[in-house]
């Protein structure tokens, strides 16, 4: 594995025209981190305003823009591209392929992303302000009552949807066609499996999202009435279409995280993953179920009882494959020779907190109970436990785990562990109290609240500032590692690590597996 081939081009054009999966992976990761900081800044505005009851810092209109952009930027700008970046870096190296199947398309799918978010962010400076209808953009808030900038929002959703579809087609084409000889499907690392299934979900539902925003565009500008009752349409239809996309979307976010955790826990338990086959089947089962549970997001729209029951039981069914996964991870650790380096700490944080998020999800799935929880802070607490402690924690784990392989330098373990503990404590101070205020009746997406919620909201805000600050430490640690970390050239950074990515040199050369390895 030499660099006898040509190396990277020099200067800016290396990044603009690159077709190298590692370069593109790196760009995705940095882009998503910058979006994570931007979305985090929006969250800080929200928490600062909610620090005390009453209106303190921003007006309600701007507050609504912050909640909307925070959600959109975090979901579409931070979490999704970060896992695409990880897929670009790791999938070819994990299956013994020299690059992605479609390197040129790979370049395009990355480079249309920054303009899409530039457009979305620019709406903040437009007349009438940025989108203010929540990241779920329910009609008619996003059609009849939307600010004029909604058209730019629609365009940016179209572009980022296109980017996602191109990226996932590339991943499927790579996994299906570029595996090294002997790398059968059931020998693939679980991260590759979860991404393969995620990519199929993306190809199936991103066009549905594109359809929903196209209908909004037509309602706003071309006189149709898909979501307008005046013309015979129905706003509830919007919710059905949105959540038909939206529920698979939450698994699009969490399945790659499952994959990361399934790579890291065996390494630091020094045991193979327990129940590999059942992990693959559980992932596929979750993906299938994600298509038949969407209406549990909208129990209160007035469905027939039979519909509520169907969606309730189908939703509860998801706990079975998810439980299989959680028990497999725990069983992998059972009697393992465990050590607790930073990636493992994040995975264990993931395991505990994601399970809490799963349980609150189970509570929300109960239709009659959901009538109380619906649109309350309980929902906010629930999805931050699965999105932040699920997806973001696993992403942090992935960065610490593979960073030495990427740049040939070791991160500072003490700083990494500090990052974990501050994140863990800050996260729980932020979101645990939100369960209580939610159950007590505090609605989500409001800039002001009743006085009895003041103490818990102040706690939440303090926790959020702590959590936010810990991410600056993360950024510092990563940059310090790249610039001045302790050099390492061990192919296997972690003694318990298994997989093809640990057989190439450290740092990973620009081109790897130009001659495919033989997998036995």
């Amino acid at each position: 594995m030499g660099d006898h081939h040509h190396g990277p081009a020099k200067g800016l054009s290396r990044w603009l025209f690159t077709t190298n999966h590692k370069d593109i992976g790196t760009m995705y990761l940095w882009f998503s981190f910058s979006m994570f900081i931007l979305g985090g800044a929006f969250a800080m505005v929200i928490r600062a305003e909610l620090f005390q009851p009453g209106m303190q810092l921003v007006n309600p209109a701007f507050f609504n823009q912050m909640t909307t952009l925070h959600g959109l930027v975090m979901v579409f700008g931070a979490i999704m591209p970060s896992f695409v970046g990880l897929a670009n870096w790791m999938i070819p190296m994990m299956i013994g392929a020299p690059d992605m199947a479609l390197p040129r398309m790979n370049n395009w799918s990355f480079w249309i992303l920054p303009p899409a978010f530039l457009i979305l962010a620019s709406t903040l400076f437009m007349e009438g302000g940025a989108p203010n209808f929540g990241w779920t953009f329910y009609a008619p808030l996003s059609t009849t009552y939307a600010p004029p900038s909604v058209t730019y929002f629609i365009f940016s959703i179209h572009v980022l949807g296109l980017s996602s579809i191109m990226g996932s087609i590339n991943i499927i084409a790579t996994v299906m066609n570029m595996r090294a000889p002997g790398m059968t499907y059931m020998k693939m690392p679980l991260f590759v499996w979860t991404w393969l299934i995620t990519a199929f979900l993306l190809v199936a539902v991103m066009p549905v999202l594109a359809g929903a925003v196209t209908m909004m565009l037509m309602d706003i500008h071309f006189g149709t009435s898909f979501f307008s009752a005046a013309g015979g349409g129905d706003p509830v239809l919007f919710q059905h279409i949105f959540w038909f996309f939206g529920h698979p979307e939450v698994y699009i976010i969490i399945l790659p995280a499952f994959g990361v955790v399934s790579q890291i826990i065996p390494t630091f338990s020094r045991k193979p993953l327990f129940g590999y086959d059942s992990m693959v089947y559980a992932t596929a089962a979750i993906a299938f179920l994600s298509f038949i549970v969407w209406a549990h997001h909208m129990y209160t729209v007035g469905m027939p009882v039979a519909g509520e029951l169907f969606f309730m039981y189908a939703t509860m069914l998801i706990a079975v494959p998810t439980g299989v996964k959680v028990f497999n991870w725990v069983t992998t650790m059972w009697r393992g020779a465990m050590t607790f380096e930073t990636p493992m700490l994040f995975c264990m944080g993931f395991l505990v907190l994601f399970t809490i998020g799963g349980f609150t999800g189970l509570m929300l799935s109960i239709a009659p109970a959901d009538f109380q929880y619906h649109d309350s802070y309980f929902v906010v607490a629930h999805f931050h436990y699965v999105m932040v402690a699920g997806a973001v924690f696993s992403m942090s784990a992935a960065v610490y785990y593979w960073l030495p392989k990427w740049c040939g330098r070791m991160y500072n373990e003490t700083m990494g562990k500090t990052h974990f503990w501050i994140s863990f404590v800050g996260f729980n101070i932020t979101f645990f109290p939100q369960h209580f205020v939610g159950l007590a009746g505090m609605p989500r997406r409001i800039p002001d609240y009743a006085l009895q919620f003041a103490d818990f909201n102040m706690m939440s805000s303090i926790g959020a500032f702590i959590y936010g600050a810990s991410q600056i430490l993360f950024l510092y640690n990563v940059i310090a590692t790249i610039v001045a970390g302790k050099p390492t050239s061990e192919a296997k950074t972690w003694e318990g690590a298994e997989g093809l990515e640990w057989t190439v040199a450290t740092p990973a050369p620009y081109h790897t597996f130009e001659t495919p390895p033989q997998v036995r």
Binding site: A204, P207, M215, G231, I241, F244, P304
Partner: protein, 186 residues
């Protein structure tokens, strides 16, 4: 399995790209009509049929009386005076009933309105047959003028026996700007 190209990568890409296009079309040609069909078939959303009912001779069930309440609401920004001439009627299932709603356009300009019905309890929607309704069509009204808008309906004899009161609610929308461009199916 069907192969569209001898190059396996091209084959995968073409199939996946087609899937994406099909899913985009699926939203428009399957999800929207299916939603409307399901709402009609299951009688949910309290939507009554958008087409005139052809009555069948079944006789009037004199033994039963059902209270019909009429409610009228203006959608936000709709300036018309709009309301039922009577707010409540007692009717027998199977009998044909007439009432009128009146509307007045107080503005100096001509406008077009659309009334959207909704029945509560929504279970009753399938048994609320309209033989004639102003809601079947858009209602144009010249500036500063008024109109009587007729409604003729029959309550089905099969109306579940536990339903004693039905509320028919109309919300009137200003569709002046949409007229001509409306393609959504009613």
């Amino acid at each position: 399995m069907l192969r569209v190209s001898s190059n396996p990568v091209v084959d995968t890409v073409v199939k996946l790209a087609s899937t994406a296009v099909i899913m985009f079309a699926f939203v428009f040609v399957v999800m929207v009509p299916l939603y409307n069909v399901l709402c009609d078939a299951l009688g949910i959303n309290g939507k009554t049929s958008g087409e005139a009912y052809t009555s069948v001779q079944a006789g009037v069930d004199e033994s039963r009386t059902v209270t019909i309440q009429f409610v009228a609401t203006n959608n936000e920004g709709m300036p018309w005076d709009f309301g039922p001439s009577v707010t409540m009627m007692k009717v027998h299932p199977g009998a044909s009933n007439d009432t009128v709603f009146h509307a007045r356009n107080p503005l100096p300009k001509a406008m077009v309105a659309q009334a959207i019905p909704s029945v509560s309890p929504s279970r009753a929607a399938a048994y609320f047959h309209k033989t004639e309704c102003f809601c079947f069509n858009q209602q144009p009204l010249d500036g500063d003028s008024s109109a009587e808008m007729p409604l003729q309906f029959i309550i089905d004899r099969d109306l579940p026996s536990d339903i004693h009161t039905i509320t028919l609610s109309y919300t009137i929308f200003d569709v002046t700007d949409m007229v001509g461009g409306s393609i959504a199916a009613r």
